[in-house]
Amino acid sequence: MSTLVLLVATGLGLSGLYFLIASGLSLTYGLMRVLNFAHGTFLTVGAYTAWWLATRLQMDPTGRLVVAVAGCLVVGAVVAAAVEIVLIRPLYRRHVEQVLVTVGLALAFTALVQGAFGADPKPFPAPAWSQGVTSVAGAAIPTSRLVTIFVAIAVYLAIAAFLRFSRWGLIVRAGVENRSMVSALGIDVQRAFTLVFAIGGVAAALGGLLGAVYFGNIDPERGTATLIFAFIVIVIGGLGSFAGSAIAAVIVGLVQQFLNYYASVYLGFSAAGDLGVVLLLAAVLLARPAGLLGRPERG
């Protein structure tokens, strides 16, 4: 029983990380049909900013974490907005070129981080309370997993509220539905897109920081590695569907964690979770190519 609770908690922690990356990807795709291959770099930016601040500030660990969170949020938003304005906007509506540019950025940036900070993972100085365990229903759950879950839920609620109640959220929702109609009504969808891009960057940067707490280290390759699972998540959830990406993140995280645990315990095979997620993707493609909450592509 306690193993079950532990697996659910760690699985959901993983889901939280995937959701933080996938939410931004899903929104930018839904609004502008842009696949941002460099979305993983926002995660890397967040993680390395937080690490840089946390290792250099002379404060108590929790205060340091607060500054690190604030720093990584600001840097995530700024970097994402800059990428959108400088790299993606000039290639408006040329979708393949947009993908190519973000691919180039992802390659160059990962290489740059490796050159500057080394290719090996670096330990992340997380505060002691986040590295302890919390007892939930008789199981000792690492607190970092719980933190990840709570932050992901908070981000989900915040973005959902933004989409539901704010004027910009209304424009985004309408733009996902029918972008040309929104533009025809004289509303600047491009600016809404920059905003959505920045929100996606903030969520991903936060994902980078939480990943650093979750795994206890930072790694230049983690951005791309997580990004690939985030792709799987948004395809399973249905491209452009925000709620779909949240549901799919939960499913993917749990499937991965459970398969990883049981296959390595009973079969001695440690890659089962990752492969199982890809098989899940194959099954979804066979049964429902548009994804769980997606609608079939229109023209």
Binding site: A111, L112, A271, L275
Partner: protein, 350 residues
């Protein structure tokens, strides 16, 4: 437009292609030093091996060009089929103690079946989703290789070919010219297959799909069938390239399974000019050469003595190549082929 241009200079094109082939085929007999370009004369094993790698990658870039350049399908999983060609014979020879011939034959067959099976799945979605799904399947292959199940693939260390089971003509430094000719044959074979395929009836449908898929559908053709055909053909050609690559290096390295390798193929094709024949071949060869030389450059004393602000970016080949890629997309969207065409047109019009 391209068809109009093709017919008149076709004979000249043949003559140029044949001349290039002859020069490449005779290269192992020339003891020509090319200082600055290669560190040893042309017919030395080191230089020949680098040239052979360039030729192989040129062929693999051509195979990717079929699906990306001619059909307009953005696949991020092409490395998987190349890696199949690298790893399956290595496993068969080193782990299961087969001889090379049956290992290669089985791989050639598997290289047809795997893209057929995965293509029929991936092509259920189009556009950007197709890119993500192909990436996911390729990543599964990469994870499998890295996790080293049952100590089969060797994980990060890679997997060497068992030389006792290899034909003598393919091992040893003296026999580098043989490997070089194999690589050249692979490139010629791939080039001819691509040339024939893009001119064939399905080839024209691929290009029509690239221009306007909906219209192909309206004309009563099923794009799915044609897309599966090009997916399988290009995957198979990449798998053949993998076999040659394995023979050249005498072992399998896990780097060829990663997403970065798929992205490198994309870069080669865009560098040369997607949707032309010789452009991606040139792009593939040039990329491999640059990658090799940049690694050398970053290890050289010249870069080491630079201030950190310059040294860090310059010592990372992927940083230079990624930046080059971004600049290409902005300023030379058609790659080398488009620049060459522009120069040629200017010369025609005085």
């Amino acid at each position: 437009m391209s068809r109009l241009n093709l017919h008149l200079p076709l004979r000249r094109g043949f003559a140029v292609a044949f001349a290039v082939f002859l020069i490449l085929a005779l290269t192992p007999f020339f003891e020509v030093p090319l200082p600055g370009i290669f560190s040893s004369p042309l017919n030395r094993p080191g230089t020949l091996q680098l040239l052979a790698l360039c030729l192989t990658l040129a062929g693999v870039a051509l195979s990717y060009n079929l699906i990306f350049g001619y059909t307009g399908l953005l696949s991020f999983g092409h490395a998987l089929y190349f890696a199949l060609g690298v790893y399956l014979p290595a496993l068969a020879v080193t782990r299961w103690h087969w001889t090379l011939a049956p290992a290669v034959l089985v791989t050639i067959l598997a290289g047809l079946l795997l893209p057929l099976a995965l293509g029929s799945l991936c092509l259920r979605v189009g556009g950007i989703a197709f890119a993500m799904v192909t990436l996911a399947f390729a990543q599964a292959g990469s994870i499998l290789v890295f996790k080293n199940p049952g100590h089969l693939t060797g994980g990060e260390e890679g997997l060497g070919l068992d030389f006792n089971l290899m034909p003598a003509a393919l091992t040893g430094i003296v026999n580098t010219p043989n490997l070089y000719w194999i690589a050249l044959s692979y490139l010629v074979f791939t080039f001819v297959v691509c040339w024939w395929a893009v001119g064939s009836r399905p080839g024209r449908v691929w290009q029509a799909i690239r221009e306007n898929e909906r219209r192909v559908e309206v004309m009563g053709l099923r794009p799915y069938t044609f897309k599966l055909l090009v997916f399988t053909l290009s995957g198979w050609l990449a798998c053949l390239g993998g076999i040659v690559y394995l023979l050249l290096l005498g072992g399998a390295t896990p780097a060829v399974t990663t997403a970065n390798f798929s992205l490198a193929l994309l870069l080669m094709v865009v560098l040369g000019g997607a949707g032309t024949l010789w452009g991606p071949a040139l792009g593939g060869a040039l990329y491999e050469y640059l990658d090799f030389r940049l690694v050398k450059l970053s290890a050289s004393g010249g870069v080491e003595s630079l201030p950190p602000l310059l040294r860090v970016p310059l010592s990372e080949p992927l940083f230079i190549l990624g930046t080059l890629f971004i600049l290409l997309v902005y300023f030379f969207p058609g790659g080398i082929a488009a620049v060459a065409a522009r120069v040629a047109r200017r010369r025609l019009r005085p």
